[in-house]
Amino acid sequence: MGILEVQNVNKRFGGLQALDNVNLDVEEGSIHAIIGPNGAGKSTLLNCFVGRLVPDTGTVMFNGNSLLGIKPHEINQLGVSRVFQTPEIFTDLSVLENVMIATFAHRDGAFKLNAIDPVRKEVDIRDHAEATLLDVGLQDKRNMVASSMSRGDKRRLEMAMCLSQDPKLLLLDEPTAGMARADTNRTIDLLKELAEKRKLTKVIIEHDMHVVFSLAQKISVLAQGHVIVEDTPENIKGHPKVREAYLGEAQV
């Protein structure tokens, strides 16, 4: 029994079967990668986990709770954080404030009317946020306005926001896209380190096979909304179905 169990999930957009009877079983503490060509339905699947989309049929269970029919903030409060494919951050605020907001949400819950004491007195929140920024290597940029950062930095910021919440399940939608090689390697190291330090389960969507094979314990290959194979990296590498799905795409 996995921490995240997805059964028979279907999602149609008009005439397009974006998700076709998808099953997924993510083991607690593991890194589970989802790969597949563009438009395979990978992001759509994650959308069904965080309350952005509701599948037409099927179930999504997390830690014994159904994630369907509850609000995005409730899903997050259960311990699910997500890094989006296009960075979703508070662009007008500083890097540090971005992370502090996530930390507040983790400590204070979905709503707390704390309108009198200043933020500058929240030393614990700030220390925690700064420590997380150090983890992702953004400590020197903490006073920058988030919108002025590079795409790779924005993604690392988003990762810091998620990590500061100490989630049980971290969903990463192409976390290294837009990053330079050095930053990509650094991100891989960070994710590995986190896997060892905390019992953090991750679902990662990634096009970069170097990243996938150096991180994942389990890989699901999605094509046209359907999971064609689910196996260990070793077995995936030479799998004929995977080669077929990626035909024309150079990677595998």
């Binding site: 965080v50 609000k71 995005p72 903030h73 997050n76 409060q77 954080s81 997500r82 989006f84 979703e88 951050i89 508070f90 662009t91 007008d92 605020l93 500083s94 540090l96 404030e97 502090m100 907001i101 996530a102 507040f104 949400a105 983790h106 204070d108 819950g109 979905a110 709503f111 707390k112 009317l113 704390n114 309108a115 009198i116 004491d117 200043p118 933020v119 500058r120 929240e122 006073n143 926001m161 919440q165």
Partner: protein, 397 residues
């Protein structure tokens, strides 16, 4: 540790002291501009409060309400009723005004905040126009329709009724009438120190202080996060609805406070106070001064009220006296040129000014001040070291 993001306690204290001094010295500072008389000074303070409250909603969350005049009106009506029924002391009137407008804001906000963007604005506008029209029709027993709600000789006033027969009583604070004014001659000007103004000024200072606390608080930070990316906030585990509703109710209560102060200075309430133009005016005030800044709304309110009351009174006689030093022909040309921009044409000047500010200074007057301030400090910084970074943010808000 110096930090540009979280203004220090010393910084905020400096800002408060500056604000208190300027407000309390209002009658002296504004006298040379012809704006030092009690009636207008009171308006500056009251609309400053209105704009500060509006800024907590609009400036922080970005939700643009077009119906806040409704809360101003509700505050005024509630206050006048308290003056009629209970006592001419303004304290109960103000308390009721704030409470009732807060309840109104809770209901209107609860419904309107189900939508965002333009739909939210339209919903608030619809509610306010509905209140305005109902005040003239269904609710005439409460609002006294077109005549407006006034105090009358035979009002019950259970606490202090029937003191002076044949004369309308004055609004007061524990016996001190709001219109008590001390006149002082100073450098050829008449300074008027009015009790009503100082009462409003103290409330303005408290209102400003509360907004400062809200701006600096985690609640304020969440509201600013709503403005930049509400979706992200939801996926971060925050339920944004109660945050925006709290901001809406707080700003509605500020509006109600302003409305009840208007009634406390002049015990009269009419439905025109709730009209959409009045709702639009507070939007202009906040944008003109600088939405999302602390001082901007007060500045914007002052600017617009100054134009409305002073610029509108400049007639051709005044213009002739301005240009009297010129030869006759030129004098007449100047008067003809300036004429459309003053007096009844004050809206034209204000409109042009507003456009210029929105185009060249999207952050309002405060952005202009900040730019000037940064120029000054950056010059100083190159001369000394980087120690002035803390001071640079002092007038920023």
């Amino acid at each position: 540790m110096t930090n540009a993001i979280f203004p220090s306690k010393a910084n905020d204290r400096l800002l408060m002291i500056f604000f208190i001094i300027v407000v309390l010295a209002g009658p002296i500072i504004l006298a040379p501009f012809g704006a030092g008389y009690p009636d207008l000074l009171q308006r500056f303070a009251i609309f400053g409060i209105f704009a500060i409250g509006f800024n907590i909603l609009f400036g922080l969350t970005g939700y643009l309400s077009f119906g806040h005049a409704a809360f101003l009106g509700v505050g005024s009506y509630s206050a006048v009723w308290m003056l009629k029924l209970l006592s001419m002391n303004v304290i109960p009137a103000i308390i009721l005004g704030v409470v009732i407008s807060g309840l109104f804001a809770l209901v209107i906000g609860y419904v309107s905040l189900r939508r965002s963007g333009i739909y939210f604005s339209i919903l608030t506008l619809a509610f306010a126009q509905m209140s305005y029209n109902l005040a003239y029709s269904v609710f005439t027993p409460i609002t006294n329709g077109e005549t407006g709600l006034q105090i009358l000789l035979d009002d019950p006033r259970v606490l202090d009724g029937g003191t002076k027969p044949g004369e309308l009583p004055l609004t007061n604070l524990f016996g001190i009438p709001m219109n008590a004014t001390q006149k002082v001659e100073f450098l050829g000007m008449t300074l008027q120190f009015n009790f009503g103004f100082y009462f409003c000024a103290v409330i303005l200072i408290l209102a400003f202080y509360l907004s400062l606390r809200i701006f600096r608080s985690p609640f304020g930070l969440m509201l600013r996060a709503v403005k930049t990316n509400q979706n992200r906030l939801n996926y971060t585990g925050v339920n944004t609805r109660p945050y925006t509703l709290a901001a809406f109710v707080i700003s509605g209560m500020y509006a109600g406070l302003a409305g009840s102060l208007l009634a406390s200075m002049d015990p009269l309430a009419g439905a025109e106070r709730m009209q959409w133009t009045a709702s639009g005016e507070v939007v202009l005030m906040v944008i003109l001064g600088g939405a999302g800044t602390l001082l901007g709304p007060v500045l914007g309110a002052g600017f617009i009220k100054y134009f409305e009351n002073i610029f509108s009174k400049i007639n051709d006689n005044v213009l002739h006296s301005w240009f009297a030093f010129m030869p006759d022909g030129l004098e007449n040309v100047m008067v003809t040129l300036v004429h459309p921009f003053v007096g009844k044409g004050w809206h034209l000047t204000l409109g042009l000014l507003f456009m210029a500010i929105v185009i060249f200074l999207p952050g309002g007057l405060m952005e202009g001040f900040n730019r000037i301030w940064r120029k000054i400090t950056s010059k100083r910084e190159t001369a000394t070291s980087d120690t002035s970074s803390d001071a640079a943010s002092t007038p920023a808000e």
